[in-house]
């Protein structure tokens, strides 16, 4: 990793919290990814990690379609991306499309947690990727109807996100407005904007 990338990683590292593993704070979503391919071994590891996420009734409603640059799966996922996302994904070595099964397999009843739990598995995947020296960036910006049609995804599955996976690249390769975001510090809401005791009553700590 170059000195510039090293300094970027430091900038993007969220503040550590005593007793909480740093991996949670090291994960961020870059746009500049290198062309370096991802090994089958590492891919296997991150999907095996993903499998251990929590899910409602242990349904594991998630399904992942994984494409490597150059193959058919990749082409279909890339084609589905919104144009601005296509721009920064020109080098991305791996694109992953997630989907969540809308019904419980055991009894066919609706599973309102299919995307909640797919988000959990994707979080596991992204943390494992970070630990293995990679980065991931999940995107909502893609044409779901197109992706559904290109992959003949049945109605029983909800489309999830597209996740770019790879190694950190050079921010200088990004279009100007993306470069600016890439080099900016990360920001989050303070606790009193999302932790409450009543609907409009922030919790106190």
């Amino acid at each position: 990793m170059s000195e510039k990338q090293d300094s970027l990683e430091r900038l993007k590292h969220a503040p550590s919290i005593e007793g909480v593993p740093d991996i949670l704070f090291q994960r961020w979503s870059p746009r500049a990814l290198a062309t370096t391919p991802v090994s089958a071994e590492n891919l296997k590891k991150i999907f095996e990690a993903a499998s251990w996420a929590a899910s409602s009734y242990n349904e594991q409603p998630w399904r992942f379609l994984v494409g490597h640059k150059g193959d058919e799966t990749y082409k279909k996922i890339y084609e589905s991306l919104a144009e601005p996302n296509q721009q920064w994904n020109v080098n991305t070595p791996v694109l992953i499309l997630s989907a969540g099964k809308k019904t419980f397999t055991q009894n066919g009843s609706p599973n309102p947690y299919q995307l909640h739990d797919t988000g959990a598995a994707t979080t596991y995947l992204s943390l494992a990727a970070t630990a293995l020296g990679m980065h991931s960036h999940s995107m909502g910006g893609f044409d779901r109807d197109k992706a559904r049609s290109l992959f003949s995804i049945p109605d029983d599955f909800e489309l999830g996100a597209v996740t770019a996976l790879g190694y950190l690249g050079d921010p200088e390769t990004l279009p100007e407005h993306f470069k600016k975001m890439e080099l900016a510090p990360r920001q989050r809401k303070p606790l009193d904007q999302f932790v409450f005791t009543g609907w409009d009553k922030p919790a106190t700590f």
Copy 2:
């Protein structure tokens, strides 16, 4: 932690993967929680950790309502639980109800990722809790209409999950059928059931 609990933790520990932090494999969802309260300091830590999860356009659509045993918030969440969940939550010190904002704050357009991203934040929360020696167990089994009504949750938010948070308790305190689940090994689908290249074509590694 007693010897029995220690042996249970070992049983529930998913197989380690070289290069991937063990915290992902140490998290599991117990039903027997101890009455031991959770400190404000630890609660603050897990919510601060949660804030660093990824979200579509960094919307951070999640909102958490947190109740401590004995307070009004807790009572309302507990009342909303399905009866079987009420059974094993008799000792749970903290109950958390999540919700996700259905629209992007910036422009009011629909955010189809509100629960996906709330699942991501809940995963961060649960991993931070695990690292701090606690456990969490998220549940879909509760009456969403009741919870919405008890907390006057506006239409613009989707109800997420109820998460029980606390320290590991004694499985012997559980009703028999829950005890059996509590002492069983964890199971997950193999990769060829959820990682694909075409919709019905499992990926090979």
